[in-house]
């Protein structure tokens, strides 16, 4: 079971890193193309958006593992350990239920967008919409593996990085 978890995490890492690398490459290529060769592609903006959206939803489970989903822990810190643990299990259940609903609605959203086309690339809108059910599904898998450690606040992050997202 540990091995399966390890593989899923490694693949998940590679997917999000790869998606960011591709997005970076095409956007940079378009700037070089515009000034170096006088060509730019209109599909780049759309592809960049959709790739990053996919990366974002797919990265949610990893953000959970690394403790980057910011919580306000004042109340749970004040509670006695036993109640704090119960509260955190409840949080896991709430997240699980919410993501199941999101996953299910995401599938309906894909069906809803299937016969509409995107502006630049002309693919069915349902394709980029698939980010939502895929990402929520991945999150559910990660949550199943990680729930116990989430409750114990045993997050995995690299040395030197703060325990929250460095984005604000």
């Amino acid at each position: 079971m540990k091995k399966v978890e390890h593989i899923i995490v490694a693949v998940n890492h590679a997917v999000v890193a790869g998606l960011l690398a591709i997005t970076f490459a095409i956007v940079f290529m378009n700037v070089v193309g515009r000034y170096g060769f006088g060509i730019s592609f209109s599909w780049v903006e759309e592809a960049a958006r959709h790739l990053m959206i996919l990366a974002s939803f797919c990265g949610a489970g990893l953000a959970l593992r690394e403790g980057r989903l910011v919580t306000i822990g004042i109340v749970s810190d004040m509670l006695p350990e036993r109640f704090s643990v119960m509260l955190r299990w409840a949080v896991v259940l709430v997240m699980f239920a919410f993501m199941i609903v999101m996953c299910w609605l995401g599938v309906q959203f894909v069906q809803f967008g299937w016969n509409k086309e995107t502006m630049a690339t002309g693919i069915p809108r349902g394709i980029p919409y698939m980010s939502i059910p895929i990402g929520c599904g991945l999150f559910l898998i990660q949550l199943c593996f990680f729930a116990k450690r989430f409750v114990a606040r045993d997050f995995e992050y690299d040395a030197g990085t703060p325990p929250t997202g460095e984005a604000s």
């Binding site: 999000v16 970076f24 956007v27 999101m102 980029p128 939502i132 990085t161 325990p163 604000s168």
Partner: protein, 428 residues
């Protein structure tokens, strides 16, 4: 429906549900309880909330700051700042401030600054005999310059959710407030250092040292020039500027042989995961913000505020006070996404320039990052420096006062935010 939305949001927030989920859950349950709206609208808002090319500047600026840090340029910046201001009274304190201002030109985030250069200077200050809580407090305070001086992730998020404000315009709007913030902290540091006898280094850096330090820091100092120059002269969009800056950092790392393949892979993965945690909040907050607008809560609020006063300055003060209180209790990013559509329309209908309002809001909420109970920058500094939050919070008070004075100036003098962007043709 409004009641369900608000009560559920605060209830889940207090019960330590991750912030991103609180907004999604409150929105979703409110939609189901109400029964008149199609739940698919929540998913649609969630997707649309992050389906924006200007927003794609966020991953690139995160990536860029990851790569620059991996290049080891933080040390070069530190040496440069030390050569410039290290000899002044309270020298290392000034170095702390200057490094944060320089680093702010590379990174768009206060937390990246707090965990990076600020944490390093904090250690140096402690070794040099500064009181540990003051060293920590100053490091936390200087980190707040990060989201004010461009590039700024908060500025990107504000700009994409406000009509008529461009990311480039708001970037430029941050330059003067960012410099003012640095100056205000320098004055505060001077006063504290005089009182406690913190001295600078005994000798002033020689010209040779200054020149060599500048040369070493030059690769890092070029970065803001690329980003701002590119946006100013219309060479590329802010998103493209982020990609170009990342490419520059990548090239630099290759030339300086600073990367291993593994390190590079980790930098991309980490940037993607941090982006994910941000975009998740933006996506979920979009559901929440849309519902607030749908329920006409901003209009109701606007009505009750204009009943009290129709004076522009007074309204801005009320909005600033409201944002300040929110910033104390809600994390910066979600607060920004929720408050922008609620408070923005009130400000614009009173004739307040969106650039000024945006700057006020970003600065205001950034100050909230160093105030308890919810002060992410304080937490990082307390963890890194093994300090107690209570002592740190007390030590930061004089510095907080300096920051609030800058906020007051930004509120009362619109030109501080609007002069630079208007000068370069980014008027509304």
């Amino acid at each position: 429906m409004a009641k369900t939305l608000i009560i559920l949001f605060f209830a889940t927030l207090i019960l330590s549900v991750p912030v991103a989920f609180t907004m999604g859950i409150a929105g979703m349950v409110a939609i189901y309880v109400d029964g008149t709206l199609n739940p698919l609208i929540a998913v649609q808002r969630m997707f649309a909330g992050i389906d924006s090319f200007p927003l794609m500047a966020v991953p690139f600026f995160i990536l860029c700051s990851e790569l620059m840090t991996a290049c080891g340029l933080t040390k070069a910046l530190l040496r440069f700042a030390n050569a410039l201001v290290g000899h002044l009274r309270g020298g290392l304190g000034h170095v702390n401030i200057l490094v944060s201002m320089l680093f702010a030109g590379i990174s768009g985030s206060a937390l990246a600054d707090a965990a990076g250069p600020s944490a390093i200077v904090m250690r140096m200050m402690r070794e040099a005999g500064y009181e540990k809580n003051y060293a920590g407090a100053l490091s936390a305070a200087t980190a707040t310059i990060g989201p004010i001086i461009p590039p700024s992730i908060l500025a990107v998020i504000f700009a994409i959710s406000t009509k008529g404000v461009t990311v480039g315009g708001l970037f430029l709007a941050g330059i003067l407030p960012g410099i003012l913030l640095g100056l205000a902290l320098a004055v505060a540091n001077h006063i504290v250092s005089t009182k406690y006898g913190y001295r600078g280094s005994d000798t002033r850096a020689s010209w040779t040292e200054l020149r060599s330090a500048s040369l070493a820091a030059l690769p890092a100092l070029v970065m803001p020039a690329i980003i701002l120059g590119g946006i100013l002269f219309g060479i590329f969009t802010p998103t493209e500027a982020g990609a170009v800056a990342s490419a520059y950092a990548l090239l630099l790392g290759v030339v300086l042989r600073a990367f291993t393949l593994r390190g590079l892979y980790d930098a991309f993965a980490r940037a993607a995961i941090v982006t994910s945690s941000v975009f998740l909040i933006v996506a979920m907050a979009s559901i929440f913000a849309w519902l607030l607008t749908y329920l006409q809560i901003p209009q109701e609020l606007a009505k009750s505020i204009t009943q009290i006063t129709d004076n522009k300055l007074a309204i801005l003060f009320i909005l600033a006070g409201f944002a300040l209180v929110c910033g104390l209790f809600i994390d910066t990013l979600p607060a920004l996404i929720i408050l922008t559509p609620i408070l923005g329309p009130i400000a614009y209908s009173a004739g307040i320039d969106p650039l000024q309002f945006g700057m006020m809001l970003v600065l205001n909420l950034t100050i909230g990052m160093v105030t308890p109970p919810v002060g992410p920058v304080l937490f990082v500094i307390a963890t890194v420096g093994q300090l107690r939050i209570e002592s740190l919070s007390r030590a930061i008070l004089p510095l907080l006062l300096a920051e609030l004075i800058v906020l007051l100036l930004v509120i009362t003098i619109p030109g501080i935010s609007t002069f630079v962007p208007n000068f370069f043709g980014f008027a509304n």
